[in-house]
């Protein structure tokens, strides 16, 4: 597979976010605008220069309102990616393609919500009307039985993972403990200065067995925006560019929306394997080239198969990789140095891309040695049609 045309020729030139809270006290549209303004300020770019917007289909703030609020007078590209938290690297890839095609010079990727103080994803799908579209009909196989929330869908995979790979609740807990340890030194994290122990994890209540409260990411209010442009233009802006070395979307065989329980095996993440294959093949990089990774952690169990699908360890051995401390700051592959969505905030994975940018700039609070001269992996939502990307320093 040859490199995607935009790879190495586009870059993230600015990142911006609101504060991450449990109650923003303002509208989701205001959060989106504040995040976009912050990203533009970071890059040192006039809002009027932006001519493209990409976001999630779940985003409640339409492109026209964001455009109006930013004072943009013309848009030439606006597009969205479906399937919830699987979208973050996907909307960056869309932006990079639009830039590289010459459709748009500067594209803002944004995601903002009051996911804690407004409609909480964790409350599940029970309020949805029983429509009969193909998408709504998917819920028919699970909702009448009480599997109504993302936690409940991931729990089904987790029980099988424990059975088949000998993973334990403590292994899930080690993921949470690591993310919270990283969040504890990140002033922007909701759980700043609040690390947890494995005992805390083991004594936290069940949300959906085998998942405990501390296996579940936060619910957060906040916004995150990412400015994508060509590498050449990025070099003229305020910050060192985060070069998009590779990006990919992925769906796997017999794909379902967080409920791919009808495949031959429930082990692994075939959709993430599709991303991994593209990233490695188009970039020429491999797992040994990655200095640090931001692995989607809406629920701790799915951090494990990501380590396996990208080849950081062999299938079934992620638990050993984690037990020996390899995902900690001093491990072989520090994971979620900002605290992840378990520790920093749940902004649908977009805050993870911002952390990768800080790592390649060398400005992360938990800076990993070599990241600013190497490569950083970021993944999108797990169990859903997903996406991933690799950022590199410009040299």
């Amino acid at each position: 597979m040859t490199a995607h045309a935009y790879a190495g020729r586009t870059a993230i030139a600015g990142i911006g976010a609101t504060e991450f809270t449990k109650f923003s006290g303002r509208s989701e549209l205001q959060l989106a605008l504040e995040a976009c303004v912050a990203a533009l300020d970071d890059a040192g770019l006039e809002p009027k220069r932006v001519s493209g917007l990409t976001t999630f289909t779940m985003e409640s703030n339409p492109e026209n309102e964001v455009m109006r609020g930013l004072g943009i007078t013309e848009l030439t590209h606006f597009s969205r990616v479906h399937h919830g938290g699987g979208a973050p690297a996907g909307i960056v890839q869309l932006a990079a393609m639009a830039v590289n095609e010459g459709v748009s010079d500067y594209v803002l990727c944004y995601r903002a919500f009051n996911e804690r103080s407004g409609r909480r994803f964790g409350s599940g799908v029970q309020d949805q009307p029983a429509g009969a579209s193909a998408e709504q009909a998917q819920f028919s196989w699970t909702s009448p039985y009480g599997l109504l929330t993302p936690a409940s869908w991931i729990a089904m995979f987790a029980s099988r993972m424990m059975h088949e790979h000998g993973v334990t609740s403590e292994d899930f807990g080690r993921v949470a403990v690591t993310c919270r340890a990283h969040a504890a030194t990140n002033p922007k994290a909701h759980f700043y200065n609040r690390p947890i122990t494995l005992d805390d994890h083991q004594s936290s209540r069940f949300i959906c067995e085998p998942l405990r409260l501390l296996d579940c990411c936060q619910e957060s209010d906040g916004g995150q925006a990412i400015l994508v442009t060509s590498l050449e233009r990025a070099r003229d802006l305020r910050q060192p560019p985060g070069v998009i070395a590779a990006a990919a979307q992925g769906m796997g065989d017999d794909q379902q929306m967080m409920r791919s329980w009808f495949r031959e095996s429930l082990m692994g993440l075939p959709e993430m394997a599709v991303c991994a294959r593209q990233l490695w093949e188009t970039s020429g990089l491999g797992p040994n080239d990655i200095a640090t990774a931001v692995l989607y952690d809406h629920f701790s169990p799915f951090v494990l198969p990501q380590l396996e699908e990208f080849g950081f360890c062999a299938p079934g051995e992620a638990k050993d990789f984690i037990r020996s401390g390899e995902i900690a700051l001093d491990g072989r592959l520090p994971v979620n140095t900002h605290g992840g969505q378990l520790g920093e905030a749940y902004i649908h994975g977009m805050n993870g891309i911002a952390e990768a940018v800080r790592q390649v700039r060398g400005t992360a609070v938990n800076q990993v040695a070599g990241a600013d001269s190497g490569h950083v992996l970021v993944t999108g939502g797990t169990g859903v049609p997903t996406s991933a990307l690799i950022l590199s320093n410009d040299r």
């Binding site: 964790g122 029983a130 009909a137 196989w141 089904m156 069940f206 429930l266």
Partner: protein, 510 residues
Amino acid sequence: MSEPEASTAMRNADDPFLARLQEAVGRPGPVNVARDPVNQPMIRHWADIIDDANPCYVDPDAAALSVHGGIVAPPTMLDVWDKAGVQMRRDGASPVGAVIDVLDAAGFTSTLATNSDLEMTRYLRPGEVLESVARLESVSPEKHTAIGRGHFVTWRTDYATVEGEHVGSVLFRMLKFAPGTGRVDGPSAAGAHGAGAAPPPDPDPSRRPRPAINADNQFFWDGARAHELRIQECNACGALHFPPSPRCRDCGSFSMGFRVASGRGTLYAWAVPHHPQVNGFRYPVLTGLVELEEGTRLVANLVAMAREHIRIGMPLELCWLDSHPALEPGAIDSRGPITLPQFRPVRPARCESTRSVTELEVGDELALCPIPVSATLIVGGALMTRDYFDVHHDRDLAQRRGSRDIFMNIHTSLGLSQRYLSDCLGPETVFRDIRVRLGVPNHPGDTMTMSGAITALDRATGEISVSFRGTNETGDHVTGTAALVLPGGSEHDAIRAASAAAHAEREARS
């Protein structure tokens, strides 16, 4: 005077009623001679209703070859033989009868058996005539229980043959309570959730989310309404698909039909939601990903089992929940009636060759066994154990006494427990004792699922201890322990030798 006795005396001084109840404690009653000898017809009726196929109770040839050397009575029938008839004339000379008369007169008219501990010196044979003596062991001060205010009455009955050979004893406890004085469910349930917290969800399944029914999945939900589990099948190539699709992903055909599943499967994965709690469910909710024997999987609730029974790979069988009534007459889409597939454990095959103690370990689990509770089982079980209390056979009277319906008597629970243990371990499992405590009632329509484990084991003697429980949707109906003797150790051989000697002696006499 020991301390407990002293405190009892002090309390009795303040409470003349309790003193009167406790007057007869320790005093043996009159000798009660069974009206009929141990006999094959009653054993057969009992085995029929308990659904116990153990040949030692009914098959002379098989029984002759067994450890018992001939037909024996099921051990939990020990206290059936001396029971009074349906007229239930109480012997006023019996201390137990006298206490019950006093409690009835004081308004504690309802009866609930709570414990029965049977100890068997040996098994009984047809033709033997028993006599018994009951001794009142204790009467408790007034207790406030979930079902009402009352007194626990405990007595021990010793059984012997009329020739004077001790054969066993039963320690029995019942609650005599005043009907209508039980705790109301509401306040305590709300209290458990703390002040200001949302009330617990309404578990009525009609409040569950309805499935979205469209042209692609109509066949499935139509099938469910007919209690038929349909798997989409390609009419062209025969491939099975779940979830269904308008087009066969294997051969490309748009001609899709279905095959009716056998309903047998195994558990592939599970999830047990605790939070958030929504209407339509009783939390925690047991859900499973079931792999059907046809090869496809589907999600369903796991029923007739508790959280701790869940094991990946366990065999399951289909049953149905008619969850939602129609919202509109005649509707066949989401507004129509909804029926949901559910899966329950499979009754294991009866162990026909008794397990040896040498192949067992402490901690070994006994297979789950669901027991459907029908009115026939409850009524038949009560009558086969000569228990004529109306709450076990008359729904109107049971409801008037505050029950939802008739409920199972303790002898049936004991019999089912005995059947469960010998079906798991084999027909020549010898019971030394079995002790049960009752919890929530078993009503018609419930399914009681038995589970158990080996808690102690002596390889030299072959003696083992087991714990077991029978659980229905509302909780533990029965919990208990049993001391058993299995082949492979010295005791089973000793029992066989003693049985043979007794048999030879009888032969010689006749």
